[in-house]
Symmetry: C2
């Protein structure tokens, strides 16, 4: 008799340090170890965990960028081998002459894949190219995963594309910021990203694991509130606090993401879609005015 | 000097009665009056406010259906004239030989428009045709509105289409049900529909007003939790309780939906979209398998 493949999933909330690439490599190793000690098999680290976030110049951004074979990812791959785990980690990627705000999927076998953030926020536009390769999915022993980064969650199209490709879990390395908001969290400590994560989960019947960072860099304040949502939307862990490190854990059976697609005997999350009514959502021409 | 057009918006939570069309007409009149007494200018009533929800036969469904010129809508138009208000109300619509789970936009000038629910839930598929005309928007003196009904909120494509057409407020007559869910609300009384409403609001920077019903019919239990969200996502009113009548009110300036599209000096809610990466979301072929 086959059993559901239970997976312990971890979202690590901590503060990478701007420009401290060696220290950030070590921080990642320490958090991978801490999550693996707790039994986690798939571990999500924050956005730009290799580099920090608030660059002030091209030179700073470039100094922190590495390619997929760079020293930081190599150290985290070593951790994956040593602990027998998989890691999704944000990193500043150099590819040729360009930089991307990317997330790497790493495992005992090495670098499995990279997602390049498609929707760039504010000054990221000065330091990174937007990813043009779409939203890839990756098959792991315990299920199929996709990756989004931070601001991508404000574009429900992206999560939907991943879900339609069969992603059962969307991993979200993130650096949610307090800046530009009149209200950052509500009376129970929920950030708007938490609401977006829950909605992505219930609308697509997928798991969502968002690992945010804390602390501040220059004029940018980060807001924590990492969370893990299940395929009916409800949070399985978090939101974590706004200011403290946190290791969020959840035992999940990713096959539930497929099983729950059949919402009722007569309703399927994707079968009920009306793609013929959504034609204004895709294609080359987008309106930016109202 | 021009002032922002402040609008008092109302979402009315109560229990229409299955098959009691005369009573439901009177209930709608009473709630329009109650909301108008409180100063509301735009008033949202629940889904199928004319007819009730849990039909058991074609005959029942047909007996409750009326066309856009039917007696119930005519009474509510009278209320709009008498009180100088606009109403969005769910009703069972007969059009030719077909029935639709529709919502009417009514005003002092009469029936302004109809939206026919595009995504049907469970047994609605036995009694209604899915709407094929897409997602219309309507210009009112205080702004542009769109309409979605209940399960439509699980398809973020629909809200996005409305927002791209310039909708500043999405009115959501709804009949959220407890059925088919292992968890209906969380520890603070939020239903999953509330999370979807908040996400729609923050992702599109629009207002969302969801008027749910309470009570039960046959084996269907309704869950209240009506809410009004602002264009940064945060709730302005609600969630209302699961079991009691409620009149939710919010003073809104719909022009904020446009103003807040510019999220940062470098980020526009629509300008940041990557429609060339969303091509799998539209078109005639939809996948229903994983």
């Amino acid at each position: 008799m086959s059993r559901p493949a239970l997976l312990k999933l971890a979202a690590c909330q901590y503060a990478p340090h701007l420009g401290d690439t060696d220290g950030n490599a070590a921080r990642g190793v320490a958090w991978i170890d801490r999550a693996a000690d707790a039994g986690a098999k798939l571990i999500v680290l924050p956005e730009l965990a290799s580099s920090g976030y608030a660059f002030a110049s091209e030179e700073e951004a470039d100094a922190a960028a590495q390619d997929g074979g760079g020293a930081i990812l190599a150290r985290w791959v070593d951790s994956c081998r040593r602990r027998g785990v998989y890691v999704v980690a944000g990193f500043s990627e150099r590819r040729g002459d360009e930089r991307f705000n990317s997330a790497a999927l790493l495992g005992p076998e090495g670098l499995i894949g990279v997602y390049q953030k498609a929707h760039l926020f504010n000054d990221e536009k000065s330091y990174f190219q937007p990813g043009d390769s779409g939203f890839p999915v990756f098959d792991l022993p315990f299920g199929r995963i996709g990756i989004l980064v931070c601001y991508d969650l404000w574009f429900p199209e992206a999560a939907r594309v991943l879900a339609l490709k069969g992603a059962q879990l969307i991993c979200v390395p993130t650096n949610w910021v307090a800046n530009f908001r009149r209200q950052v969290v509500d009376d129970r400590g929920w950030a708007m990203g938490n609401y977006a994560a829950v909605a992505v989960a219930t609308q697509n019947q997928v798991f969502v694991a968002a690992a945010d960072r804390i602390g501040s860099e220059r004029d940018v304040e980060f807001i924590g509130a990492s969370c893990i949502a299940g395929p009916e939307g409800w949070l399985l862990a978090g939101p974590a606090s706004r200011s403290d490190e946190a290791l969020l854990l959840a035992d999940v059976d990713l096959s539930q993401a497929a099983a729950r697609k059949q919402r009722t005997p007569r309703n399927h999350a994707f079968g009920d879609r009306r793609p013929e009514l959504y034609s204004s959502l895709s294609g080359p021409a987008a309106s930016t005015s109202e």
